[in-house]
Point group: C2
Chain length 189, copies 2
Amino acid sequence: MKSETRKDEIINTAAKLFKDKGYSAVTMRDLATAMGIKAASLYNHINSKQDILKEIIIDIAEAFTNGMSIIIASEVSNISKLKQVVALHVNITASNTNGMASLNNDWMHLEDQLDYYLKLRNEYENNFLKIIEEGISTAEIKQTNAEVIMFSMLSTLRSLYLWIPKKEDLNADDLANNLSEVLIEGINV
Amino acid sequence: MKSETRKDEIINTAAKLFKDKGYSAVTMRDLATAMGIKAASLYNHINSKQDILKEIIIDIAEAFTNGMSIIIASEVSNISKLKQVVALHVNITASNTNGMASLNNDWMHLEDQLDYYLKLRNEYENNFLKIIEEGISTAEIKQTNAEVIMFSMLSTLRSLYLWIPKKEDLNADDLANNLSEVLIEGINV
DNA sequence: GTCTATAACACGATAGAC
DNA sequence: GTCTATCGTGTTATAGAC
């Protein structure tokens, strides 16, 4: 495990603050205070506040893209692919809870990288929808509105960052299995 | 239908802007420009930026509280109550899409009313959870983790504000039924 | 790597004219 | 009800000493 650089410390501290108040409401002074230094000293390690946001979001967005490309290439049932998608979200969120808050809530404050982020997100959602549509066409999944299914699953998966920290005791695999069951098999007897 | 006052216009315009960029990133000058007036003129109708946020959020939060108290008092099955909760979210969100964004994303920027908002939210979630737990104890609902079920349903329902505007053609009742089916009966055959 | 000092500008809000 | 002008403060970021 490579040791955390000063820059990494700043980015991780920023992600924590962004989670609580959002990118726009966190000042460089807030961040400096949380680091125990003065605001001007931050600029010895990072170029701008915007750069911090970019590093937080783009890293995670690319992790989702990479994970999805492995899933769609795998030769399993579409239901299995959906379960892998659930596990992908659980794993990424568990390893970077604070960053997920910025990805979900502050992506619109990206400047130079906004178009790139939106491109990755659109591709991700298209792949997700395709899995559901193929599942319906092979009769693995009920003949329902595919977009409603994706919306529902994705809403839950995107909210995981709020929930995982409260359940520290819960194992990531257990949570992924539990969630898969609720999302795929429903809740009624 | 009572005609919209100038104050209402300001609040509705603010809600639209808050939805896109968040409370902190929207300036009073942004809001004034969107209204076609100067920033100073806003203060003839509202007391502060904070007051606008309060009016947006508290109204909606109280609507949820009122809706929930009717649902828990009704003498129907717990599954029926859950379907009523889904319909409550669809209806409130459909009638105030922009305000729902502030409720979800900017509640932490409430000042004087923060404690009151959190009290309403906690009570709401406790009632929601109780319906699920009673449904499990009466064997209407599978023996699963009740909190996982609530988390999943609530995540989807809270994200409706992002989705309803894209589906203008969809009837609110149809959406509520469709969502209830996906959330309660699951997606697999 | 951190500091003090400060530039350059944006912010919420008010005063008072019309 | 809207305007112009402005106050006091907070903002990101830079310069240069240590």
